[in-house]
């Protein structure tokens, strides 16, 4: 079924990671992505991987959910690592016809694939442990300084919230409409590409009709509650930094120091 996509789905829980301030989580995610790309030798790669595994364990989300989210990128990982193996440059340690494999190529492949995997794991961890509303809320708060440049921060955040809010609803609706048309004998599995696209018409039209109806109803409901955009709006839920958040920041700083030290004292291998 369509709804079986696991990438980016919130999973309720009470873990340490769930309780972190969403702003901190976003900032830390960006920091970790930088860390991941600052690994130039095996020791620092191991440190970042260990940190990622620790975060995953702390999140309390079943490991198979992470594996599922990796499935999406497995092809990309394979292709990039293959390319890196064959076009690594350096002295070949293995030659067969035009295929030359060098040690640096293998290292490169390992680094690239581990980096992509870590990237996906960390961002899945963010979306698994943070509700979409919290996420957009945090993004709005983090983008606040842009207001000076007349960026409509609140409006952008509101659009994101609404879009995210309706993703599951629309998926559910697609599922339902597809079932209903299949029940009337619609054949959506067989046939070539063009035939499949044509077969989707009975699904797409009702879906669009209902999406527009929902949009209209939502607009009316918002207007009935006198929604006028961001100016002068106060919040029901304000975010406060808790000791836990400071701890996570300190730990991440330590991690950064470790990586920097590794890079200074150990020779880079890629």
């Amino acid at each position: 079924m369509i709804r079986d996509v696991s990438f980016g789905q919130f999973m309720p829980g009470k873990s340490v990671i769930h309780r972190l301030d969403p702003r901190i989580k976003i900032v830390l995610l960006i920091a970790y992505i930088v860390f991941v790309f600052c690994t130039f030798n095996f020791v620092s790669l191991a440190i970042v991987s260990a940190a990622t595994i620790a975060v995953i364990l702390l999140s309390g989300i079943p490991f198979r959910m992470y594996v599922k989210s990796l499935k999406v990128v497995i092809i990309i990982v394979l292709i990039t690592s293959l390319l890196n193996i064959f076009y690594g440059g350096g002295d070949p340690i293995f030659e067969w016809g035009i295929i030359k494999i060098s040690l640096s190529g293998i290292y490169r492949a390992i680094f690239v694939s581990v980096r992509i995997v870590l990237l996906i794991l960390l961002s899945s961890c963010l979306t698994f442990t943070t509700t979409p509303t919290d996420l957009t809320d945090a993004i709005e708060r983090l983008m606040k300084p842009l207001k000076v440049l007349h960026v409509k921060v609140h409006e952008i955040a509101m659009m994101m919230t609404i879009a995210l809010r309706f993703v599951p609803t629309l998926l559910e609706e697609t599922d339902k409409i597809m079932s209903a048309q299949k029940a009337r004998g619609a054949d959506m599995e067989s046939g070539g590409f063009i035939k499949k696209i044509k077969a989707m018409t009975p699904v797409l039209i009702p879906l669009f009709v209902s999406a527009f109806r929902r949009a209209y109803e939502l607009a009316v409901a918002m207007e009935c509650r006198c929604y006028r955009g961001g100016d002068g709006r106060t919040r029901m839920k304000t975010l406060h930094m808790k000791p836990l958040d400071y701890v996570s920041v300190i730990l991440s700083c330590l991690l950064l120091t470790g990586i920097i030290l590794c890079n200074i004292f150990l020779a880079p291998i890629i």
Binding site: P12, K176, A183, R184, A186, V203, S210
Partner: protein
């Protein structure tokens, strides 16, 4: 031989995720040809899930569905054939209308079945007549119809496939009382003429009491009862524990009986109650 036989059927949504939910739990039953089955149960008891296994929209995690003695999943490639035999009207079916005109929309099912030309035209008009959609409406866009008319058009779209088994998932939800009565009598009328099997999912005890030959009660994915309306509605306390109740008129008549009026047991419809009261008045010489 029974037309549909269900053996130890179970279905779980979202296996392997934290949202895992067993919606149908080890359900076995058989349904005879030409029967009207009323299916009742509390919200979330798995009614819609169960009926979707009957035409292969949902593949059971365990167990089998036999149609005319054959497992419908024997040849997964031919599951579409099952869908023409077991027609299914979903909850709020009006949201699946899509074509330019009502006529074209109704013909979607039978055309998929392979009908064309005169046969198709006859089938579409007959289906429209069963649900009293008049010819004037057939050329309109389905999006210009009223809610009740849309519902009728959607039901006609399934009837037009002329299925041996017709499953209706809460067909009267959200209609006004007159519209409900009308739709219900149209369904009965269709059943009388076509003599097919009907499974009617409903939250209205009155409706199922009126039309069903047998009533099936589901609770938390399990089959709790499958019996005649009289037998089912005599188990008042069990039903109430499952968040259901007996038809109001049955309650009224039971209370009156307890107060000493000489009414017979197991009255299910207002019509029956009317006759009872009339005959009692006659007996007492007040009429």
């Amino acid at each position: 031989m029974s037309l549909i036989e269900v053996k130890n059927l179970s279905f779980t949504y979202g296996i392997g995720t934290p949202f895992e939910k067993k919606a149908v739990d080890d359900l076995s039953l058989s349904i005879n040809e030409g029967e009207i089955i009323g299916l009742i149960g509390h919200t979330g008891s798995g009614k819609s899930t169960f009926v979707q296994t009957l035409n292969g929209l949902i593949k059971p995690t365990e167990g089998q569905v036999l149609l005319e003695g054959k497992d419908i999943w024997e040849k997964p490639k031919e599951i579409r054939k099952v869908r023409f035999k077991v027609g299914m009207v979903f909850q709020y079916p009006e949201y699946q209308l899509f074509d330019e005109t009502v006529y074209k929309d109704i013909s979607f099912g039978p055309a998929n079945k392979g009908l064309s030309g005169d046969d198709l035209d006859k089938t579409v008009r007959r289906a429209a007549r069963f649900v009293s959609l008049n010819d004037r409406l057939l050329d309109k866009s389905p999006f210009d119809l009223s809610g009740g008319e849309k519902r009728r058009a959607a039901i006609a779209g399934v009837i037009a496939m002329d299925p041996d088994v017709l499953v209706l998932d809460e067909p009267t939800a959200g209609l006004d009382p007159k519209g409900r009565d009308l739709l219900l009598s149209q369904i009965i009328g269709y059943h009388r003429e076509r003599k097919n099997t009907i499974i009617l999912v409903s939250h209205s005890m009155e409706d199922v009491a009126r039309v069903a030959d047998r009533i099936m009660v589901m609770n938390r994915g399990k089959l709790e009862m499958l019996d005649t309306p009289r037998a089912v509605f005599s188990r008042v306390e069990e039903l109430e524990r499952m968040g259901l109740r007996v038809p109001q008129i049955t309650r009224v008549m039971t209370i009156l009986r307890e107060k000493g009026y000489d009414f017979s047991d197991g009255i299910l419809t207002v019509g029956q109650a009317f006759d009872e009261v009339l005959s009692l008045l006659k007996k007492e010489g007040k009429l």
